[in-house]
Amino acid sequence: MVISAWETYYPTLLHWLLVGGGIMLSVLIVYRILRFFGVGREAATGYALITPWILGFLIFSLYPFARSLYLSFTEYNIFQPPEWVGFDNYVKVFTTDRHFWPNLKFTLFYALLNVPLGMAGALGVALLLNRALRGIGVWRSVYYLPEVLPAAAVALLWGWILAPKSGLINFFLRPVYELFNLEPLQWFTDVNLVLPSFVIMGMWGVFGANAIILLAGLKNIPQELYEVADLDGANAWQKFRIVTIPMLSSALLYTLVTGVIAALQIFTQAFFITTPTRAPQFMSVMIYREAFTFRHMGYASALAWVLMIIILIATLGVFRSTSAYVYYEGEKG
């Protein structure tokens, strides 16, 4: 049975227009009500304008946040009402679930390898693209290409590049295998190589957002600082250590924090690559499967909370351990 496109678009289009109109109307209504109760003109306008966000915050952040916490203490399969089970889900996460610890370890190791390697690579790319050179714009366009591709397409491509038979990497490595009489590496299909394979795939991300951000940071460094360093007779390495790194520290911190958060939540790439069933999975994939394949909504919520707390600890850890090194212009200067 084929449904026409219009039939599937029409109801949503209608809802979209209605909700959009409703939001605009609510802005006006909030303004009128506040004015009616004697709120000043400026304050009333301000509250009215942020109404869409306040509604969104209540409906799509605060409520789901609280509901998720509640669900994590229940057993819930969608079809029957949630049943309160106390801390059972959390106990199960940390004790009887055979998959939790391997999956957590896998996710953490991935972040631990992917983030520093990725940052170092992105910094290298940024330094290279920062050189004053004719036609550097063309190079930049080429270097940012991987950032534009959908994560799904990247995953699919790298699944093929790392294919054991006739993949690109094993094609290039074939002379090495033959020289040392080795068996070709099986990459994503070898349980022990799944993690390195994901890290290699992740390295393609050095050409992308982080490099763009770090390059912008490099361009913001006042040239005089390098001139002063020149007068003091600093060599290239010293200039890099004493000028570049401190002046870049806030951009580096930004890429570090967003990188840690993204690496711990990696989903799309993992979902597009078939790995052996015995291999550990990323936490986000595990949560997705518990929730939407097995319909364990309560248990999946508990897992999500554990992951969130781990992300929170990691982020705070990054902030605490770097606060002494990050230099903000205007704060001290």
Partner: protein, 300 residues
């Protein structure tokens, strides 16, 4: 190129040293661009191979014969397992989601950002910090309850969850960027308009919107890309194959037709088609794309 004698460092050869430096830079740029371009070339080349050519050693970079048919055949095969899911239908689905979500988000976000940037009201700083803190909230936490909201509304397997929620000014990150941008606009411009008797709506639409157009474009390109590439949303909310956008159609193809023996040539063809529109957008609006990516990190 003679020594001026003033500096202890030899001036001789500074030009040739600079030339050497840029030669090395170009060599490095070339070398690393291979890491970008070879995978792209591999994808393109694979998409034009027959099944036998896939496993040839050494790799045939330019397949002979060139299997242009793959691009048609990939979608034919998809159409066989998902009746009606043609290339044009998938494109229309993707554009429908992307454009509606982007439009709603840009409108909502710019209004909210304007409110935060320009009007003083009690609790403004607290609310703004609250908004920023939602950026730290992992989407995995809100995923399940949000799914349940749409399920209670009986809107699963419609496009509603993917486009209607965009009206609620959700992107804290986008609000933050636009607010920063609004704050760089001198207040005198509005004050002059107020004296001329313009109301808030007129000021917003006739004065502020044109002024923040560059920022809106930069954000728009990023939001467009985000929605185009979004995978988890359509994966969770859409069940009927005919409604699938690009990314989910690709996953469906991979799952149902390539489970046993991956049809890499078809998958690479589909994935190339899927990436083309976004690549085209990148080349047209590259400036805005890069601006959008850097705005947050540098100013924030």
């Amino acid at each position: 190129m003679t020594s001026t004698g003033k500096q202890s460092r030899p001036r001789m050869g500074i030009k040739s040293r600079r030339r050497l430096g840029s030669t090395i830079t170009i060599a490095l740029l070339l070398f690393f661009s291979l890491f970008v371009l070879i995978p792209f070339a591999f994808q393109l080349s694979t998409s034009l191979k027959t099944e036998n050519q896939l496993f040839a050693y050494p790799i045939e970079w330019v397949p002979d014969p060139v299997a242009w048919d793959n691009y048609l055949e990939a979608f034919n095969q998809l159409g066989r397992i998902a009746p009606g899911l043609t290339f044009w239908r998938i494109l229309a689905n993707t554009l429908f989601i992307t454009i509606l979500a982007m439009t709603a988000e840009l409108i909502a976000v710019s209004i909210v950002a304007y409110g935060f940037a320009r009007f003083r009201f009690p609790g403004r700083n607290f609310l703004f910090l609250l908004m920023l803190s939602t950026m730290m909230l992992p989407s995995i936490i809100t995923l399940i309850p949000t799914f349940l909201i749409w399920r209670n509304l009986e809107l699963i397997d419609t496009y509603d969850p993917l486009v209607v929620a965009a009206w609620f000014g959700g992107g804290a990150w986008a609000v933050f960027l636009l607010r920063q941008f609004f704050m760089t606009i001198p207040k005198e411009i509005e004050e002059a308009a107020v004296i001329d008797g313009a109301n808030t709506f007129q000021i917003y639409f006739q004065i502020m919107l044109p002024l923040i157009k560059p920022a809106l474009l930069a954000l728009g390109v990023l939001i467009f890309r985000g929605n185009w590439n979004n995978f988890m949303g359509p994966l969770i909310y859409l069940n009927t194959t005919i409604k699938f956008p690009m990314v989910v159609a690709l996953k469906f193809f991979q799952e149902s037709l390539s489970k046993e023996a991956p049809k890499w040539h078809y998958m690479m063809a589909m994935s190339t088609v899927m990436a083309l529109p976004i690549l085209a957008l990148y080349f047209v609006a590259q400036r805005y794309f890069i601006e959008g990516l850097t705005m947050g990190a540098v100013k924030g």
